[in-house]
Structure formats: structure tokens, C-alpha cells
């Protein structure tokens, strides 16, 4: 039976934590009857054309049944090209994957869209981009598995020309294009404008963009341009951290495309936990205080 290949990103040799979730999904597939799990690692910032060639060569050699990668900027930069070119099966935003009676099944969907149940008839290799937070993590150290370190060689058509450390729009940019959003909700309204000012300072220290829920705009605590949601700004950052937001439907639909949503709310039944990838039931002010303490 063919392998389950995990394509995990590392930063300076350290596996990104979402890699443990990919391994968890892979081990579950292996237990359902697919072959052994193979862990391939690649630099999270590898140039996409070079990464495409390196991963493509590995797939051609190993012919895995399934390739699991994280749904994020890294894999979105080359996995669609690889899948289209190789005639592989492909799905993004995957929240469930199973091997049932000799067939691969997956589900994809983000909040506000129906869940799509997917199959991959006629595809010997299927590339899936998994959502963070949807699968139980497994520690790679305990598991016995084959590991391959990919070292992409540059594509002759693409020349690396350096880095820009602070592109002009990086700091406190318009909400719609922000990559890291810190969001405040009604749970932080008790101190009036003071709570929002604290969030703004925290956002500055984290180099994040501040967003607020509709309740704070209606309460006059924040301007409308800060409002995330369908009736404000739709956002799709890599990380969305929500403190004290309970989650009105228009807000949830407007943030659904964020890659990782982390929510803190006192109410365990808050609707934001239906969409968040990680959730903590706690007082938003207490967590804000601890965040301030940690970041000096």
C-alpha cells in the first residue's frame, strides 16, 4: 500500500507546530489501512518554484497515496501548480480526511460555506491542504517514521534578490490586507476606551493590526474602519486573535478565511468557538493583562 507523505514546514530546522497536526492526520490514515507515514520537511520560506520542483521529484519517486500539507501561504504558493501539472487530486481548506473501503474521502469548508464531501476517483496521488486546529497532533519524536529533508535548488527562471524586512504596509495596515490581526470585542468594553487603547498598544508591540467587533463600534469605543465582519471589513490574515468577541454571524463570516483563529471568551457557548481553531474559556481582561506582562 502506498505511503502517506507529510510535507511539513520548518523554520531554521524547527518543525512548525502545525506539522504535528499533519502527522496526527497521517497516522490516522495509516491506521485505517494506508501505508506507513513518511515525514518530508521543507523550509517554510523556500521559493515556491524551487519547492514545487523538489516536492514534485519526491512525489514522482515515492508515488504516495496522499500528501498532507498545511493550508497556508507556503503550500498555497506551489501545491496547486504541482497538483495541476501532475494530474493529482487536490483540495484546500480540508477539515477531515478518511480512508474508507479503499477510497480516500475528505471534507472541506470554511464558516459560511456549506461543507463539501469530496472523493478523488481516478487519482493515484492526492494532495490535501489541511486547516490548522482540525486534527489531533502527534509528536514526531515518539513516532518511528522515515524522515526526508528537502533542499530545493533554485529555479533558473527565478532569482532571489534579497529581503524587505519592513515593507511599507507592514505596520498597522488597512484591515483587509493585514497578516496578523488582534481583535477586541464586547468582553473588553468594561473599561471603556481604556481597554481598546490597551489593545492598540499590545497590537503595536506585536506588530499586529487592531480590529474590533461591531458591538464596540456601535458603543462608540472604536471607529468603523476598525470593524471586522461582513458589515465592516472582511479579513483573511494568517493569524486572528480575538479577545472578548462572542461572534455575531456577520463577524464570523467576515473572518472565516483567516488561516488560524484563536479566541478567548468567558462564555464557553460563545459562537466564536464554532469557527475558532483554538479556544480558551477565560476572562479577556485577565488574558490581556498576561499578554501585556509577557511582552513587557
Amino acid at each position: 500500500v502506498s505511503d502517506v507523505l507529510v510535507l511539513a514546514e520548518h523554520r531554521r530546522g524547527e518543525l512548525r507546530p502545525v506539522g504535528r497536526e499533519l502527522l496526527g492526520a497521517a497516522h490516522a490514515l495509516s491506521e485505517q489501512g494506508l501505508g506507513p507515514v513518511v515525514l518530508a520537511t521543507i523550509d517554510a520560506e523556500a521559493e515556491a518554484n524551487a519547492a514545487q520542483a523538489a516536492v514534485g521529484a519526491l512525489l514522482a519517486e515515492r508515488l504516495p497515496a496522499v500528501v498532507l500539507a498545511a493550508h497556508g501561504r507556503g503550500a498555497l504558493g506551489f501545491a496547486p501548480a504541482l497538483a495541476a501539472r501532475g494530474g493529482y487530486g487536490f483540495a484546500r481548506d480540508v477539515t477531515a480526511v478518511n480512508w474508507e473501503r479503499g477510497e480516500l474521502r475528505a471534507e472541506r469548508g470554511v464558516y459560511g460555506e456549506p461543507v463539501r464531501e469530496l472523493g478523488f476517483p481516478g487519482k493515484d496521488t492526492v494532495l490535501l491542504l489541511l486547516r490548522a486546529g482540525a486534527f489531533d497532533p502527534v509528536d514526531p519524536r515518539g513516532a518511528e517514521l522515515e524522515q526526508i529533508e528537502l533542499r530545493p535548488t533554485p529555479d533558473a527562471r527565478v532569482r532571489h534578490d534579497g529581503y524587505l524586512d519592513r515593507p511599507v504596509e507592514a505596520r498597522d495596515q488597512a484591515l483587509g490586507e493585514a497578516d496578523f490581526v488582534l481583535a477586541a470585542g464586547r468582553g473588553l468594553a468594561d473599561e471603556g476606551a481604556q481597554g481598546i487603547a490597551r489593545m492598540q498598544r499590545l497590537a503595536d508591540r506585536l506588530e499586529a493590526t487592531l480590529a474590533v467587533s461591531g458591538a464596540l463600534v456601535e458603543g462608540g469605543l472604536a471607529p468603523g474602519v476598525r470593524k471586522a465582519g461582513i458589515s465592516g471589513r472582511r479579513v483573511a490574515p494568517s493569524v486572528y486573535v480575538a479577545l472578548g468577541i462572542s461572534g455575531a454571524p456577520q463577524h464570523l463570516a467576515g473572518i472565516a478565511r483567516s488561516h488560524t483563529i484563536v479566541a478567548v471568551n468567558r462564555d464557553p457557548d460563545a459562537r466564536i468557538f464554532e469557527i475558532a481553531h483554538y479556544g480558551a474559556v477565560a476572562d479577556a481582561f485577565e488574558v490581556l493583562g498576561e499578554l501585556e506582562r509577557r511582552l513587557g
Binding site: R11, R16, E45, E47, A48, N49, Q52, R73, L76, G77, P80, A81, A83, A84, Y88, A91, T95, A106, G112, E113, P114, V115, R116, E117, L118, G119, F120, G133, D155, V158, D161, G162, Y163, L164, D165, P167, G176, F180, E207, A208, V235, A236, S238, V239, H259, T260, V262, V264, E274, A276, Y278, G279, A280, V281, A282, V287, G289, E290, L291, R293
Partner: protein, 234 residues
């Protein structure tokens, strides 16, 4: 140089900024939008021509729930070949539609160099100087040879607003239609191109719950910093 843009405001703005004298800028949309508002907007913004690809077969490729993104990529690649476009610009992180894998997939079919999540682009001679977004607000600078395909980040520029006269003029311009036959694509070819088959659609199940972060407020704060760093740290 011939530029081809899918009808996305930010990709269009990039294309208009890149266009030099003598270049041709073509706006493409694949869909059944009856009144063609997206095309007229593209023409009003400054595109030279608009091409619309539609065939009922497109709705069926990949099963219910919308056209499969990889099947769409096959259509895009076929138009690029037919038009012999040198530079293709598509959306990345598009919030309006979830089609931001289509462009990169088409680049794979065309075997062209590509860049995703592009926040800046300039022409330097025969090459493109591209800023590709990395985590933490950083960017990588790349030089790409043409022909190439770029996926432009939503919100990375300020799309021009056409004036009323340009909008009126655009409404009178013709929109060329292309069928699958003219692109050399069949229902079977699209079916093979599709990345997945949708077997069923069901309502979002709200019972899926977030992975819990337990512990004291201090422990929660530590985990938030870790998760944030995971997504955005340099």
C-alpha cells in the same frame, strides 16, 4: 507584451501600472454572470479587451458546489495559450471568491514561473521585480523571467475608480465570448482536470469546536504568543 488579468480589481490595478506603450491588456472572466458587470468594470478601469468564457459544462465539472478550481485552471491555461499572453495576473487571498488557487494551478499547467501573495511588482527590462509576502510582514524580492504568472494580494494596492464617462463607454464595448470548443476543451478533459469530486454538500455543522487551550490566564497568554509566532514570526 500581452497582459492577461482575471477580473479582480487588485490584479487589474497591478496590470494597469505595469502596462507600457504598445502593450495589450486583456481581461478574462470565467462565469455565467449575465450582465457582465465585472467585464465592464475592467474595461472602464482601462483594459483593452474583455473575454468571457462560459459553458454550462463548467458548472458540472467536479460535481455540485461550484466549478472545480483545477478545472478552472485548465480553462485559464487554455485561454493564455490561445491569446499567447506573456504575463498573467490573478488574485491571491481573494476575499470575494475562494478561487485563489486557480492562478497558481494554471501556472503549473503552463510550466511558467509564478509567485503567490505578491505585494509589489515592477518591470525591469525583460524581467519582473516582484515582492512576495512572507510571514511577519516581511517580503522576499524576486526577479522572474517572462512569460510568468503572478497572484496579487488583495488589498496590496489601491484600485483606480473609473469615472462615469469611462463606465458609460465601457458598457458599449463588446465582450467577446469563448466556448470550450474554441479552447480545445471537452467535458471529459475538464473532468480529468478537476482536483476532486464533490459527492455531497451539507450545511456547516456548528458542533465542531475549537481545540481547547487550558490553564491559567498566564498559560493561555503563553500559548497565544506561541500560536501567533507560529503564523507570523520572522
Amino acid at each position: 507584451v500581452k497582459l492577461l488579468v482575471t477580473t479582480d480589481r487588485f490584479a487589474l490595478e497591478s496590470a494597469l501600472a505595469l502596462r507600457a506603450d504598445g502593450d495589450e491588456l486583456l481581461a478574462l472572466a470565467v462565469g455565467d454572470e449575465p450582465r457582465g458587470r465585472a467585464f465592464h468594470h475592467a474595461l472602464a478601469m482601462g483594459a483593452d479587451r474583455a473575454v468571457r468564457v462560459w459553458d454550462p459544462l463548467l458548472a458540472e465539472a467536479g460535481g455540485p458546489g461550484g466549478v472545480d478550481e483545477l478545472a478552472l485552471a485548465a480553462v485559464l491555461a487554455a485561454v493564455v495559450r490561445l491569446e499567447q499572453a506573456d504575463l498573467v495576473l490573478c488574485p491571491a487571498q481573494s476575499l470575494a471568491r475562494a478561487d485563489d488557487v486557480t492562478g497558481i494551478a494554471a501556472a503549473g499547467l503552463l510550466d511558467r514561473p509564478h509567485a503567490y501573495d505578491v505585494v509589489g511588482v515592477e518591470r525591469v527590462g525583460e524581467r519582473l521585480a516582484v515582492q512576495r509576502r512572507l510571514d511577519g510582514g516581511r517580503a522576499e524580492l524576486l526577479r522572474l523571467t517572462m512569460p510568468a504568472l503572478l497572484a496579487i494580494r488583495t488589498g496590496s494596492n489601491a484600485p483606480r475608480r473609473p469615472d462615469l464617462r469611462a463606465v458609460r463607454r465601457a458598457r458599449e464595448q463588446p465582450i467577446a465570448g469563448l466556448g470550450l470548443d474554441e479552447l480545445g476543451l471537452s467535458a471529459e478533459a475538464l473532468d480529468v482536470s478537476a482536483g476532486a469530486r464533490v459527492f455531497a454538500l451539507r450545511e456547516h455543522r456548528p458542533q465542531r469546536s475549537a481545540r481547547p487551550i487550558d490553564g491559567s490566564p498566564a498559560e493561555i497568554a503563553a500559548r497565544i504568543v506561541e500560536l501567533a509566532g507560529e503564523g507570523i514570526a520572522p
